[in-house]
Symmetry: C2
Subunit: 100 residues, 2 copies
Amino acid sequence: MFSAMGNDARLRIMRLLLTAHPEGLVVSEIQDELEIPNSTLSHHLDKLRSEDLVHVRREGTFLRYTANTEALQELLQFLYAECCTRNKAVKPQSIVQICK
Amino acid sequence: MFSAMGNDARLRIMRLLLTAHPEGLVVSEIQDELEIPNSTLSHHLDKLRSEDLVHVRREGTFLRYTANTEALQELLQFLYAECCTRNKAVKPQSIVQICK
DNA sequence: TCTGTATTTCTAGTATTATCGAAATATGAA
DNA sequence: TTCATATTTCGATAATACTAGAAATACAGA
């Protein structure tokens, strides 16, 4: 997942999908917003899907992509556990207070 | 940073350094633990350093690497903000309760 | 200075990833 | 069925990244 998020185009896609959450966006909307050629975009979406970071469903001619929040939660939990719980390298407050 | 953490060898290095935090480890200790050839390891450490995910300091013949917790905190905050604060896609509790 | 150990740099081969135009496929509507 | 639109697949190229042996460099101690 880190690897999938580590590409600029894909990170932009994820952020865009989060902004549009929970409705998500269809491919052409993503394309208009990010100005990525369709074949390139399709490739990136495929990668995000194979890493389970997004969900897809068909709506007639369109394909609607949404962020998979469970996967993101997992990623966040992993990082949190590594840094805060398991190793106490980062203070939980520094993250938590942002949520208030 | 996601890209740097997205490589298996480098993620293992980061986890190891977090376990050894705040003392960190010298290169040969990392090498013994993870069994990565020295030149390959050096390359990965260089990448982690260029992404500011680790700190290095010389101790005589040895180089001691430590996890840069500020960078990790930044990464965590970014992800938290994207998922929980800015877009409310993930419930803060699902992360926070792990820290209790 | 010489020696041994730690680590990096050099070099190069291989593999993976990114990019995107063009063609193909999928769907719905007329 | 034909058309128009949405999206993917194909195919090819370029760019990056991974890996690691061998040589070079850095340092400390004798």
